[in-house]
């Protein structure tokens, strides 16, 4: 038996829950086929989420999942350009024609889909991102040049959650695109995802008792994102997410974290997202999205 999990046509943080629901129980008993034939567009969050599903199934010692590639030639080319298929080939049995990577000039992809396994990977990522980030942040988003370093800092801290807490490796991608549906402006999006232990298990030993009956995925996210709590006793810990929030507050940015069955977001005025959603379909590990919009004339 094979369980077919449909990849949404427009695959982003909003439609991710529909994707997660396709697995039903985790890990699924059957072999999994991720069907992306109908996918018309995927955000970086969607792409790193797909890889996380493949990684989580591999780590659960399940049969190698299948992936059918998008029917759209344009979508396939774009996924190739982001580096997605190069990593997907290690995790999935891929069905369908995958274009060969072609050399391209400057693009909206600030950072290809990149694995995060250790501290050295974050050095490489921060080193790579700075030139492209300056071009997009100041050139397209109207953010002052010196804020580029804050962006690199936010990216570094978001990636470090994997190295420090996940207990396994993960993925990051950074891309600029026009956020038509909710904002009508250009945005830069950082998406970070891992198949690790998730926020609840990471914080359980130090925080569960404090929350009592309320303890769960939602309260674990609240402890980490709102209260800046860390599982480490070192009083210097827990500043990473606080620093990201501080940076985002200056640029009307948004951070959203999904872990297990909950999602918590710091929602800026331009967005209509719900701050905390609980009882979502389960998905392994943690998925973080940071969104920085082009600055409006008023701001």
């Amino acid at each position: 038996m094979t369980r077919v999990v449909e990849v949404p046509a427009h695959f982003d943080d909003r439609s991710f829950d529909q994707f997660a629901a396709g697995f039903d129980t985790w890990p699924p008993e059957e072999r999994v086929l991720l069907d992306a034939r109908g996918t018309q567009w995927a955000s970086p969050y969607g792409l790193v989420g797909l890889l996380t599903a493949g990684q989580a199934l591999a780590e659960a010692r399940k049969e190698r999942p299948l992936l059918t590639v998008p029917a759209s030639d344009e979508v396939r080319r774009y996924w190739t350009r982001t580096g997605f298929f190069a990593h997907a080939a290690e995790l999935f049995e891929i069905h369908g024609k995958v274009p060969r990577a072609a050399a391209t000039g400057p693009s909206d992809v600030l950072l290809d889909v990149t694995p995060i396994r250790a501290s050295e990977d974050i050095h490489e990522i921060v080193g790579k991102i700075q030139e492209n980030a300056a071009r997009i942040l100041t050139g397209e988003l109207g953010i002052e040049a010196k804020a580029t370093m804050g962006f690199a800092m936010a990216l570094s801290e978001a990636c470090q959650n994997i190295v420090e807490h996940a207990g396994t490796s993960g993925w990051v991608a950074v891309q600029a695109y026009t956020f038509r549906r909710r904002l009508g402006r250009r945005v830069v999006v950082i998406a970070v995802s891992d198949a690790g232990v998730g926020f609840r298990r990471s914080l359980e030993s130090t925080q569960a008792r404090r929350f009592g009956d309320r303890w769960g995925d939602g309260s674990a996210l609240e402890a980490a994102l709102i209260q800046n709590v860390s599982r480490f006793r070192d009083p210097g810990r827990g500043q990473g997410l606080a620093g990201i929030k501080r940076y985002l507050s200056r640029w009307q940015g948004k951070i959203s974290i999904r872990s297990g069955t909950a999602r918590l977001a710091i929602v800026p005025a331009w967005d209509d997202d719900v701050p905390l959603v609980d009882h979502l379909p389960y998905f392994p590990g943690a998925q973080v999205q940071v969104t920085i919009p082009a600055q409006s004339a008023e701001s």
């Binding site: 501290s119 050295e120 974050i122 050095h123 921060v126 080193g127 700075q130 010196k146 580029t148 370093m149 804050g150 690199a152 800092m153 570094s156 801290e157 470090q160 190295v163 420090e164 009083p235 210097g236 500043q239 990473g240 606080a242 620093g243 501080r246 940076y247």
Partner: protein, 179 residues
């Protein structure tokens, strides 16, 4: 005696690659370990941490290096001063120093005048600026210069001394950056 430590140099020794970004907690801990070894071997009372050549500084590295060295210095008699700091690195430094209720004197790249970073009262900040502009002072001199009551000036100077940003020599407070 002042011991100057180039963070870029230590970074490249610690990670054995030509990285110019002080990022990740592991890197910060490795860099701090090398600095602590160097301080233990040296005889300097004042340590100048030179950020020249360092590009990005994230919160984890700022915490592991600057905050932890300052916390260690507070239990000894060592003074720490930052130099060659980029304006873009200010945010990470301010954030971690405020988190630990620490403060430090810092010289910024392209600027001749030192500044104070971190958790410090506005009076102490003003006193720092005054000592920088017009030189060392005792509480009565500072009170006269700023038209403050004597107690207010004394508290502000003590605050600077408590953070090892100023040192009292014969009743006169000197900024450590100018010693």
């Amino acid at each position: 005696m002042v011991q100057t430590i180039s963070l870029r140099h230590v970074l490249q020794e610690a990670v054995a690659t030509p990285y110019r970004n002080l990022v990740t907690r592991a890197t910060g801990a490795a860099v701090r370990g090398r600095i602590e070894a160097s301080l233990a071997a040296g005889s300097g009372h004042t340590t100048l941490l030179d950020f020249s050549g360092v590009e990005c500084l994230d919160l984890s590295c700022a915490d592991e290096i600057v905050a932890k060295l300052l916390l260690a210095a507070a239990s000894g008699d060592r003074v720490l001063v930052l130099a060659g700091v980029r304006d873009e690195q200010r945010e990470a430094l301010e954030h971690v120093l405020a988190h630990h209720h620490l403060a430090v004197a810092a010289c910024f790249r392209g600027s001749d005048t030192p500044d104070v970073l971190g958790w410090i009262t506005s009076d102490a900040r003003e006193a720092f600026a005054e000592l920088r502009r017009h030189g060392p002072a005792d509480p009565s001199m500072l009170a006269a210069r700023l038209a403050w009551l004597l107690d207010r000036a004394a508290v502000a100077l003590d605050d600077l001394a408590g953070h090892r940003i100023a040192q009292q020599v014969g009743g006169i407070y000197h900024l450590v950056t100018l010693l």
